[in-house]
Chain length 205, copies 4
DNA sequence: TATGAATGAGCTTTCATTCAT
DNA sequence: GATGAATGAAAGCTCATTCAT
């Protein structure tokens, strides 16, 4: 009988979540297109169809918004490590696995790739603000952890030789991948060409 | 008879060159410490012992100043490719060469390393300004060209197997190196550890 | 037969009055703690256990709310002039009367003393808005009138000499009292010390 | 021979001091007319004939500007305590002294009287900012100290009976005076009427 | 050459108020 | 009666750049 109050609350909740989602997504794309510093709060709000007031209803400030974007990206990434479930080295080469993987990431990023640039931009604006930087570290740790796990699986399942430390391989592959991303964006370099090939070389040792 | 005017002119020139040099060097260090966007013109002038007026006497604007810093860094780098003149694979391992190389670069940078961060920062502030970006491309081309040349020499002199395209190897090594730099700065990651080792692996194929 | 509608109406009225009372009281305390300008409408609503919407149901705007607080304070003050009913100069000294009086006011204020600060704050935000200021004048007139009446009684009942104009004495005592309040708040001065003593001197002439 | 550099420096200095003086004076008048909170930085700059940028060249922020205004007012006040040098109780009554004194203060304030209102306003905006408040305390201490000294002189020179503590008398007179100022401004009360008379009563005990 | 006061556009953030539900 | 998401108009402050000297 008293189902109305909860229903009402849900309405607000839905509305709130919808506008929040729109803002976070808009923020991600604005940051991607213009960089962190050059993106004005108003740009984000406008891109989401709201005003700056709405922005500050959802986020304490621009920094906080960025941190929500980081979390959003992790959610988008999903559990990509299951990508090789059911695959086998005898039928699917390492290169093929990598091609699928990068394709998956590209798709999950929804057009907002080369994110390393945004991370650098954010970092440059928050030098020596310990808590703002801590977020970056945590984010890296999670990413890196997932990659290392995945590499360990590749080793166990016979795609690549065992022996090398998965954590180190993960750091290498991650750094190389982001280095090429950055160079492609900064220097108009061709990233795709050798990416898979070189990553495969790194992994095989 | 009229030896004074030229002498005076020289004095002025010297003074001018001295202040120019001080400003460019100060700019490099400021950009390194705070990033491009966060560095104020006054910071640079002050660090060099001058005022903003002097800055604008030497540079059209902040962007132009950055471009002079880029050129300055190239000058600092010098002709590092001669580093292996007189060395031999039989007495000096590839790893040793790389260690010396990175040491040399570190020294030439005068404490202003992880420059990739600054490049990204600059890039983010100049999106879609064709001429500002062109500078970056040129700068990359020169760097990359030198590295490729050096790698070709390593191949010819027997440090690494021939066969792979030096240009591609250069791109890979460069990207990997800068990726680790960025990760070290952003995520408080340990760069030195595997750097030489992984670069050697990349080069050896 | 139709006893329900009136009952219901009463319920609503009660509810309405309860929330109104809560809001006015919360407003008084917020204004006291943070000043008029620095108090946000949301602060008041929150302190009363409601939301801004409820606030605007009861008050046209922040200014109107303040005016209700003024009226509330007058109600709280009550008919303090009866405080000396039954007392006599032969058994109760002027100083004793004053001590009781200030104690009574302090109690009625419910912790929200030094109200002069809030009045000034409100006044500063409403310069040249005639109607907003008129409220202050009326409020003063009532306060001052009550004090003058009380002083006249003190004269008639023999606590203080007759002769001086009660209205002027009231203005003096009021101004002195509020001056010390303000100084105590602004300059961390000790108010209590000489208050009663000096007021007594003023009254005795 | 080399008198030019100092001369040049003086030029800048003069210019700087002129604009500083204009800004401080404009700030005082704006604060007086609109209160502290309601005065925008742009109002001050504009009133002085400059832009907000110039304002921030001279003051770190609005708070700092206010503090300079406080110092300015102390300078304006000058050494008013010498006002009775050469006067004598036998030829000049206490009331006459007070009239001259208040006239002197009114003149020194250059139209920016009832400053207590601005002080309250400032105080309300800086609650619990220890350093901002410390300034108020210091300012009070100096004012109060001067008044106490002056009252001691009045006692020694025979204008008022000795016996009462000059510090306490100073606190009383100061509080009363500012209380009437505030009431006059807030409640459109007539201040001048009894001011001198009541202050004299307070001083005579 | 170099100074440094001044400009002015731009950005982040706050908050009284509204309104559909 | 009450909710709370959203608006929009400020306001404080920063900083690249200019210019008279």
């Amino acid at each position: 009988m008293t189902t109305e109050p909860p229903a009402r609350k849900t309405r607000w909740q839905e509305k709130r979540e919808a506008s929040y989602a729109a803002l976070v997504d808009a923020a991600m794309h604005c940051f991607h297109e213009r960089g962190y510093a050059a993106t004005r709060v108003e740009d984000i709000a406008e891109a989401a169809g709201y005003t700056t007031g709405a922005f500050y209803f959802h986020f304490k400030n621009k920094t906080a918004c960025f941190q929500h974007v980081i979390a959003y990206r992790e959610r988008l990434r999903g559990d990509w490590q299951t990508l090789i479930d059911g695959l086998d080295p005898s039928t699917t080469s390492l290169e093929e696995v990598l091609v699928r993987l990068f394709a998956r990431f590209a798709e999950a990023e929804r057009g907002a790739g080369a994110w390393i640039l945004v991370m650098v931009d954010y970092h440059q604006q928050h030098r020596d603000k310990a808590d703002a930087e801590a977020l970056l570290h945590d984010s890296y740790r999670r990413w890196h952890g997932q990659i290392a796990e995945f590499i360990a699986t590749l080793q166990q399942r016979g795609w690549i030789p065992e022996g090398r430390d998965p954590a180190q391989l993960a750091a290498d592959v991650f750094a190389y991948s982001e280095g090429t991303s950055a160079h492609a964006a900064l220097y108009d370099t061709d990233r795709g060409a050798a990416l898979v090939d070189t990553v495969a070389r790194l992994l095989r040792g």
